[in-house]
């Protein structure tokens, strides 16, 4: 409780009253009502699709020293509230990549394997139904700034992520995508990811339902 009050105070100081009120409202609404449909996907890293074009990107392993630049990126995309989550990810030993374009941080990608010190939140809650095995890796929070999208840049970013994970010995990359996120579904489909199953989640006040069906 005390920790939450401290977090709230810190958030308020960083983002102002208006943003804080919006964030609280969004959180409360999500707690009361939720309806989502996501597709669990898997990509084979032994047969990576080479993108049609090489983008001018530089991929770097994400470390604590990147957090200030990530915070700046999150502010630019209007999502400063995720800074604290990213700091926790680093503290929890999760891995990630950051992408640089013209020496500016333009995107990120988080990943974990089954040997991490703690499970990634999505996997810990188990609603996705993904159980990582040997050679498996789970990718999450793939993001690229709007102004850097198009002309195959996201495609190339993902290709570099896949290649780097394959070089580290992984053979399957798991993830999920919201069913209505058409641009993301297009990228994963063109990169050869296979839909494994669909997860439907709904919540109305305290009543929660989760169902999974094969895709």
């Amino acid at each position: 409780m005390l920790a939450n009050v401290r977090r709230l105070r810190r958030y308020l100081q960083t983002n102002g009253a208006r943003r804080t009120a919006a964030a609280i409202w969004s959180r409360l609404r999500r707690l009361a009502y939720l309806q989502e449909r996501v597709i669990v996907i898997v990509g084979e890293l032994d047969s990576i699709v080479v993108p049609w074009r090489e983008a001018d990107l530089r991929l770097v392993d994400l470390r604590a020293e990147h957090l200030p630049e990530l915070a700046e990126l999150n502010r630019r995309r209007g999502r400063p509230e995720v800074d604290a989550r990213f700091a926790r990810y680093v503290a929890d030993g999760f891995h990630g990549f950051v992408a640089y374009g013209d020496d500016q941080l333009v995107g990120y990608y988080w990943w974990v394997d089954r040997d991490g010190p703690t499970l990634f939140p999505d996997l810990r809650k188990r609603w996705l139904g993904i159980e990582l095995g040997e050679g498996d890796v789970y990718g999450s929070d793939f993001f690229l700034l709007d102004e850097h999208r198009g002309r195959g840049v996201a495609d190339d970013f993902l290709y570099r992520v896949e290649r780097s994970l394959h070089e580290r010995g992984y053979s399957r990359l798991w993830g999920y995508v919201a069913s209505d996120n058409r641009p993301a579904r297009w990228i994963y489909s063109t990169r050869g990811y296979v839909p494994m199953w669909t997860v439907k989640r709904s919540r109305l006040l305290m009543i929660q339902r989760t169902s999974r069906e094969p895709s």
């Binding site: 993108p51 198009g150 195959g152 209505d180 058409r182 297009w186 990228i187 063109t190």
Partner: protein
């Protein structure tokens, strides 16, 4: 004008505009050449829905449905049937 020709024309004049592409052919791999990217696919779907009165579902977003002009035309025909 056939469905395939109309789709080809839209791809050339709208999606690939400014790339110096005059024709794409009906069996050219639009993905391998990067003609349809993640932004282009939403433009293409909007066009198909408006032009042919079909409804493209989220689960239809599959590379094989949109790989060539011919496969897009076949997809439109199947959705309209």
């Amino acid at each position: 004008m056939s469905t395939a020709l109309e789709i080809e024309q839209f791809i050339v004049t709208d999606i690939a505009a400014g790339r110096g592409i005059d024709a794409v052919g009906h069996d050219r791999d639009l993905l391998a050449d990067g003609i349809i990217d993640s932004l282009g696919i939403t433009e293409l779907i909007t066009f198909l829905e408006r032009m042919y009165g079909i409804r493209v579902d989220d689960d239809d977003i599959d590379a094989e449905n949109f790989r060539t002009v011919d496969s897009i035309a076949a997809f439109v025909e199947q959705k309209g049937a």
